[in-house]
Symmetry: C2
Subunit: 771 residues, 2 copies
Amino acid sequence: MTSLDRIDAYWRAANYLSVGQIYLLDNPLLTEPLRPEHIKPRLLGHWGTTPGLNFCFAHLNRVIAERDQDMIYIAGPGHGGPAAVAHAWLEGTYSDRYPEVSQDADGMRRLFRQFSFPGGIPSHVAPEVPGSMHEGGELGYSLAHAFGAAFDNPGLVVACVVGDGEAETGPLAASWHSNKFLDPARDGVVLPILHLNGYKIANPTVLARIPEEDLVKLMEGYGYRPHVVAGDDPAQMHALMARTLDTVFEQITDYREGRDGRLPMIVLRTPKGWTGPKTVDGLPVEGTWRSHQVPLSAVRDNDEHRAMLEEWMRSYRPQELFDADGRPVPEVLGTVPEGGRRMSANAHVNGGEVLRPLVLPDFRKYAVQVDKPAGGSSEPTKVLGAWLREVIEANPRTFRLMGPDETASNRLSAVFEATDRAWNAQVLPTDEHLGAGGRVMEVLSEHLCQGWLEGYLLTGRHGLFNCYEAFIHIVDAMFNQHAKWLQSSKKIPWRRPVASLNYLLSSHVWRQDHNGFSHQDPGFLDVVVNKKASVVRVYLPPDANTLLSTADHCLRSRDYVNVIVAGKQPVLDLMSMEEAVAHCTRGLGVLEWACTDAGAEPDVVLACAGDVPTLETLAAAALLREHLPELRVRVVNVVDLMRLQPASEHPHGMSDAEFDTLFTADKPIIFNFHGYPWLIHRLTYRRNGHDNLHVRGYKEEGTTTTPFDMAMLNDIDRYHLVMDVIDRVPHLAGRTAHLRQRMVDARLRARAHTREFGEDPAEIRDWSWPY
Amino acid sequence: MTSLDRIDAYWRAANYLSVGQIYLLDNPLLTEPLRPEHIKPRLLGHWGTTPGLNFCFAHLNRVIAERDQDMIYIAGPGHGGPAAVAHAWLEGTYSDRYPEVSQDADGMRRLFRQFSFPGGIPSHVAPEVPGSMHEGGELGYSLAHAFGAAFDNPGLVVACVVGDGEAETGPLAASWHSNKFLDPARDGVVLPILHLNGYKIANPTVLARIPEEDLVKLMEGYGYRPHVVAGDDPAQMHALMARTLDTVFEQITDYREGRDGRLPMIVLRTPKGWTGPKTVDGLPVEGTWRSHQVPLSAVRDNDEHRAMLEEWMRSYRPQELFDADGRPVPEVLGTVPEGGRRMSANAHVNGGEVLRPLVLPDFRKYAVQVDKPAGGSSEPTKVLGAWLREVIEANPRTFRLMGPDETASNRLSAVFEATDRAWNAQVLPTDEHLGAGGRVMEVLSEHLCQGWLEGYLLTGRHGLFNCYEAFIHIVDAMFNQHAKWLQSSKKIPWRRPVASLNYLLSSHVWRQDHNGFSHQDPGFLDVVVNKKASVVRVYLPPDANTLLSTADHCLRSRDYVNVIVAGKQPVLDLMSMEEAVAHCTRGLGVLEWACTDAGAEPDVVLACAGDVPTLETLAAAALLREHLPELRVRVVNVVDLMRLQPASEHPHGMSDAEFDTLFTADKPIIFNFHGYPWLIHRLTYRRNGHDNLHVRGYKEEGTTTTPFDMAMLNDIDRYHLVMDVIDRVPHLAGRTAHLRQRMVDARLRARAHTREFGEDPAEIRDWSWPY
């Protein structure tokens, strides 16, 4: 039996197992003619892409075995779940992970039955599938994930099948350029396989219908060496694919060894639903969009369809592939690699297996000295940048900082003392901090930043994504998919925890006065808290020291998405490092020095979350102390937003007793919030004090103006907070008309000053805590 | 004076006006040496891209004038606001729109002062700028907008400058392929100008640093005829650009007349901050990232910087460009087109000016016959599809249906009886419904669907975007930008209302049981309601007739974003057409036939929004009627979600009195909601009855399973609703233990059935209202 025969046997076996998963409840080896009760009542699955995925698996296995190549496989068409499952079962990994699905007839029956079946497994390449690190539920991210996996994994080849449907998406179209960020010396290699089966759901695909000359130019233009493998005759295609892969791996060696700057890639053109039914009910199926999901739809009730299914399955000659007990025969397994070389068992795709904790320098070293609360000021992200520099130095191969060209703008520039921006394209003499192997990844695509980071994390490394707050919405959908992956993975015993996905959102809504309305949106938090409490965390450190403490905490955590919102502009230093750590550990707390309640029951609670809202709240507290010295004011700052939720809703949630102790059950609470105000209501609506809660936040008012005018436009400014107190503390309303008018006047004066001079009044710009 | 001299004069004038906007408060014509008080205190603006934008404006004007060409201009680098403003002022449009900013010295002073100044205008190409239809706040959408504008505008050329920063984004990378969807006969033409100035914020750009051979291949691979215009000598560049544009417009004629299938495009390579300061403080500035925003930063305080600014501004020889009164001299205006041919005054970019209302066929013709409430069932989107077919027939040039290859999957296939999918690439004999000029736009990129539709709407046409619910999150950020554009535009008197952006979200969370967890996310609604109440509307029609009525309403509306969530699977027909119209007009109402409160005060209110939650609510009401016939149950269905808000928060909001009348102020309300449950809390937390409100909805539980199992996983199923009623109606709890246990058992039985047979029990699948 030749090598190609063995590949073909493996391919036929995988195809047989794929069809079986889509259709069969029982009779897995076709030991008797198919009867209706052997067929699933609801046929769910995607056949169209599956034979192509199986074809690639089969051929890559030969290369792995022959070259002892460390390789993983990303299936862009992740709805082709049957392929990945079949592969894992043939390689024995499925039975290792799920012993009840044994590698025999009984296991095959279970394998078929459980697929896309209630209580069974999902129809896509979900976390449940050994060998997967990419679900492909939402399309577009396979190639970015592949590059993320390859970074800092020299020796690894990431084979990435890109579907031609997926190839129409924006994120995928941009991902081809990831090769400009790959370092042949320090990184692994990505082998893209653009799989043109011609159709997406019901339509032809763009890349399958442009002239091949254009397609080749497109790939060359992206910087690759394309190889076209096209046809539908299995024997010819096996020979061509094997020959092409031999060439491709020689070119990969050249790339790795610096003889060629271009990566090879493969254009694989095969019929959709290859080897499936050619025509059904008089309509062409193989090679058309009708193969996308289930080519024969009435198999249970329609005898003719059922006979076609049986004929189709027998066309793979199962008797040559499995022994009487249902075990794959040696010829089928002839090209399957050993142990951890099996793509379904490769440790990289169960990243927690290879994860090493970060070496984290003591963040306390970078603390801002605070002798007096709110006496001085610092730029929080700048302070963080110094610590991140040391994080990068201490972890030269396991930590990356991603961002859409905003690392300097977000004032993290200290990192460039330790590293460069990753860059593998032309460098000019005037450039700064560009170089292969740089730890900072900057590309003006939030999709690529997110996709690379996900791939990097899921293969057992660490990172931080810094982004303008408004534009992180660009990856809302990617965040959703990643959070769902984490939630599902947590329930799978053999999936090991991976490092959390950490966002640092800076250049936030309150300091986008210069860029204007389009750059003002704090709503990512609302998207995040829709996801399961077990996987999401949100932090709003109000100053530099709390940011340091929060960042250290997040980089140590596992299996979460952590969102940190912190400004880059100077804010008051509120706490010493010791106080900051205590405050962050509690997640929220009273700023004693700003209170006038002397530890007793206050008249009003001023709560705040976020740096600018905290500043305005403190300024309001100072105004109240000056003008209403007898008023008992308590100031509460919230760092960990999830603390506000009931303990029943989130693991960080407070008990009602704690909540009442801090916020009171019956006193007015004026909550100055960084984001959209209703998020605070949503988190607290079951609390005793909720009826007394009044939240200020961003309400979609903004333009190009000054920082304080932005605050005033949205009524989060100090003067308006004082007015809110006056309006809500019952015994005040009558005797404070004069003060209220002063506040109104102060706002008008500030507005007029701004419009005349183009900047905020000096008393606003230079304000610090006066007590 | 040659034509090129006039172009150069115009360019210098535009550059002068751009620098003036960034820096000057006064002394606009430099009639005296610059003093500190002439300089703005905060310098905000983006110089880097501006001279390139001005260069393109200047040259395109010549072409317009010479060819009487209808042309509009999209500035992808939309932060180059000074350029667009300068252009509109030179063309006289600015003064037409804003008479106080006259075309003289006083107007120039105002023009400079107001830019990026509190109380003035934004720093970007915002809606305030005449001639703009694309802000470019968030990058990536210029080319998709351009194609959207070109569709169904034969004769129009949309010149689109794509920044090389923006070109790194996913949406832009995919947008190049829009040419496969353009019809040379029925559509206009897009002229992409890829402007390589080499840097984004602080980094080189990818496309500026790959070999030019690769770049040319990339553009050829995308299907264009690229022309490179590169250099930094103004005279040479003027000659080259003019020559190239002459060639390009000949090629455009060839394209239009069918002699050439490829569109030309231009690669324009010029220094960043071209003609600005070469070096500042010893560091290179022109041609580097340091030109990105404000090249000279200390102009007010630093005499040397101020002298450099003056020298820079005088380098444009303003005395040759403006007369003593500050009016542009005739030589500067020599290439400016007349009237509506001016790009800043072209009616297409103020789309409401050319908007014609849709011809809408009577949706009542398509009504499902309903003799008895909930007696039969229909597939709502399929019913809608038949009406949409007639909408398309009646509006053959002004309506398009967008979707990521899901039009058939979402059961709108009837439209293909009237039209094709737009397609301008290879067609095979097996293809169906592909053709140039098709009204259905299907590409597997939600970004492109959204971008095309935005461009189409903003130029005065109509459309509907149908999408899988979960994946509409892909365009969260684009929705945000569009909603902000609408909100800002509404405040600008000369901006005419445009057609609303209509989403039809189908294949929704409750019917993605087959695709599994990754396809289940109803959170787009949460993103939408963060935007200003004046521009967003959300509808959840529960059946086919209410969907028809809702869709008709949305297609007639202006300046909103309308979100309609409706299923494609069969649901019960609840209302006759007449009832549906009345129900949709009210936005919510009591389903009398399902109630047992006999019009009196109920014991419990069962509220619902969304088709599947409504079905389960009705089934729960039927169970209660059967088992607790004396219980007074009221069933309320909500179509228009915004009705739940207080009237003070949203124009559709109900008064508290109305709310109390419907929902009661003190009885338990069990609200079965389509989306995440807290959205209902957020909308109602100020209502009297809120403390009695208990909301069921999606809580991130799901996998590949059956529809009813999905409902059970999230506790929105009929049995659980009955349990909720038992637990919350005070006098019931004691004497209903038996019924409660029956519900628990029913759930267990349903679950077990599902896991054994792979489908829901027949009594669930076949359920209809039994009374």
